[in-house]
């Protein structure tokens, strides 16, 4: 095992290979508060990449309701149980990562789901935490809660899938950090299925290899955002690349949200993978639950997000989400407009901070007709 630095846990950790960061790292921010679980992303991915034989059950993108939704069943709870109680000390994680907690003879602490764990992609859908007493729906705030968690492969800086493969069949592209299973080399051992804590590698029983999200790299190579991003009705996603914290650039939208404003956080950073999909946490779920899921930065992130209403930069950048199919590596705000830019600072898209409001009365004076069709 090598020693590598993982900024998400604020310390060095053990990893199977020495630190080797790509030239650029694919990264994304998902605003959980805007997700409506319409599953457009899931279908966009399904129809684009996984409509073949043996891929029937594969959901490279899925949306699950937390706390009771999982795909596959209990993917997160099972590993957290195996890892046992661990501690953060401020921003530094004092517990063990899944690489450090690997059992004798293993490369990673992991588990392989059973077939039936993939049989209920919507189990727990819209189930809220706790029981609802009569009349509870008249109380504000609501005492019960749930939120939607959209998930793809995190194209981790320290992928457990890659570390676990004894054949080296999984690789991280040096140009963009996208993690891929080499379909020529894979022999279907499923060590990666066992090792990925997010359960984002799927075995194809009819083909005999394991398959996973490819971050739509053919689109990325052409400057376009992935399918599940551009088909998102709620416009919750933005794709780009992330720098190391010390190199953060305010003009890079992902750096701005993750490193500068710290409003977007990795999923289960304590596992040690330096996951590269970042979430703006849901503002209405209990902090202890979110702390476990997104780490110690969660309370500050929610506070910052709540302040967006008075923060033209943050609110402005959030309006760029879902505004163009093109990747926007840079951005700026000019007055009431946020502008997405390419690498040469050429404008890609321009979005108003405030949508113009048109008031349309119930009666059209010009045509002398009622605009509503109910009396």
């Amino acid at each position: 095992m090598a020693r590598v630095y993982n900024w998400q846990i604020g310390r060095d950790m053990s990893y199977w290979y020495p630190e080797s960061r790509p030239e650029k790292q694919f990264a994304a921010v998902f605003d959980i508060n805007k997700c409506i679980a319409c599953q457009s992303c899931t279908l966009a991915c399904k129809t684009t990449w996984t409509s073949g034989k043996g891929q029937e059950y594969q959901l490279w993108n899925n949306v699950e309701s937390k706390p009771y939704g999982f795909y596959p069943l209990r993917w997160d709870l099972k590993l957290l149980d195996m890892l046992g109680e661990q501690q953060w000390d401020g921003d530094q994680y004092r517990g063990q990562t899944i690489f450090e907690a690997a059992e004798a003879g293993e490369r990673v602490l992991g588990w392989r789901p059973e077939e039936r764990d993939f049989a209920y992609p919507n189990v727990g859908e819209d189930d809220c935490a706790g029981t609802i007493e009569t009349g509870a729906d008249f109380q504000i705030p609501h005492l019960a809660w749930f939120f939607y968690l959209a998930r793809i492969c995190n194209h981790c800086t320290y992928p457990a899938c890659l570390a676990s493969c004894p054949r080296g069949s999984i690789y991280k592209r040096p140009e963009d950090g996208i993690v891929l299973v080499d379909q020529q080399r894979c022999r279907g051992y499923r060590e990666c299925v066992k090792a990925c804590p997010y359960k984002k590698v799927f075995h194809n029983p009819l083909v005999g290899t394991s398959e996973k999200c490819i971050a739509c790299f053919p689109k990325g190579e052409n400057g376009l955002q992935p399918q599940c991003f551009v088909n998102c009705i709620g416009k919750i996603r933005m794709a780009g690349s992330i720098s190391r914290p010390e190199d953060a650039k305010p003009e890079n939208p992902i750096d701005y949200l993750v490193h500068i404003r710290k409003v977007a956080l990795p999923l289960f950073p304590q596992l040690g993978l330096e996951a590269n999909v970042y979430y703006i946490p849901p503002i209405h779920a209990p902090t202890p639950f979110l702390y476990q899921m997104f780490g110690p930065g969660v309370a500050a992130a929610i506070k910052t997000y709540r302040s967006a209403v008075d923060d033209m930069d943050l609110a402005g950048l959030l309006t760029l989400f879902g505004s163009s199919e093109r990747v926007m590596p840079r951005w700026k705000r000019e007055g009431d407009w946020t502008i997405g830019l390419d690498e040469q600072d050429q404008e890609i898209v321009r979005v108003p901070l405030k949508e113009p409001v048109y008031l349309r009365g119930p009666f059209d004076e010009k045509y002398q007709v009622a605009r509503t069709n109910c009396p």
């Binding site: 073949g52 034989k53 029937e56 077939e115 009819l206 083909v207 290899t209």
Partner: protein
């Protein structure tokens, strides 16, 4: 290291020279895998010719050299017989495993076995653990899942999961039905392993795969693809015939070396998680 090869060493020594015209086989424990000569290679595990080849029994060791390691002993021993004809040799491997695992499902691992020989039969041996850089080994790998396919099990989802419902595959769209080339192109789009010619993806005409390796993690397609295999499960265990050509540089006076590996599917054994042997002398009957 020059290795002195020992010939047939028996506690009881009934020596055979010609299969088919000799008395009952030896029953004592051999120290070498000894090939007897026949006119034709046996393809079937129940071929009577096997009765004339001496049975070699060896304990298996857990693969505990590289992660992921096999820490528990599963298959304890393997019984091997060998018959050569011309420049080819067939081995019959038998081991106890009452559960038949031949499904390639998501959580299913098939029973499997493999033989390994140096790519070139020469006195300096490659490392027994899958060879080493510059000194490759050739491996022939058999699995029960491939055997089931060769024996006629279909390759659709319903062949694995009879209750499955499939709405539609894009390559089965009506407009493509009259154009097999376009249909194939769409099918490959969703199956990169097929498109890249990965053997795992089939199509499967043999139950074995020829591989070459220069150390753990380097296993790749072998230079030739002419090995054959046939396995039968008898309720108590497997009996598998693997035949291949003798290694390059084979000299019947000097012999060579062979190693074996066995995987039990119900114990989730796959890849590095296996029971195996070190090098064992492979000799031809005098």
């Amino acid at each position: 290291m020059a290795k002195k090869l020992w010939h047939l060493i028996l506690v009881v020594v009934p020596v055979l020279t010609l299969v088919g015209c000799r008395p009952a086989p030896p029953v004592a424990r051999l120290m070498d895998v000894t090939m007897v000569i026949a006119d034709v290679l046996p393809e079937d595990p129940s071929d009577g010719v096997w009765q004339h080849a001496p049975e070699f029994t060896t304990p298996l060791l857990p693969q505990d050299q590289v992660e992921p390691r096999q820490l528990e002993v599963s298959t304890r021993e393997i019984r091997v017989r060998a018959v050569a004809a011309g420049d080819h040799v067939a081995f019959r491997l038998e081991w106890d495993d009452p559960t038949l695992d031949d499904q390639p499902g998501h959580e299913d691992f098939p029973d499997a076995c493999a033989i390994q020989l140096p790519a070139i039969a020469e006195p300096t041996l490659p490392a027994p653990q899958m060879g080493e850089s510059g000194q490759p080994v050739e491996i022939t790998f058999w699995t029960a899942a491939w055997q089931a396919t060769v024996d006629g099990r279909g390759t659709t989802l319903r062949d694995l999961y009879p209750g499955a419902t499939i709405d539609h595959y894009p390559h089965e769209a009506a407009p493509l039905k009259s154009d097999p080339i376009a249909q194939r192109e769409v099918q490959l789009r969703y199956s990169p392993a097929h498109a890249l010619g990965n053997w795992m993806a089939g199509p499967r005409e043999r139950s074995v795969e020829d591989l070459i390796s220069e150390g753990p993690g380097t296993l790749g397609p072998g230079p030739s693809a002419d090995s054959q295999g046939r396995g039968q499960h008898n309720g108590d265990g497997w009996s598998v015939v693997i035949s291949r050509r003798l290694p390059a540089g084979w000299d019947s006076a000097r012999g060579s070396q062979i190693a074996f590996a066995v995987w039990q599917g119900d114990r989730n054994e796959v890849g590095a998680r296996k029971m195996r042997t070190g090098w064992i002398n492979l000799v031809q009957e005098p």
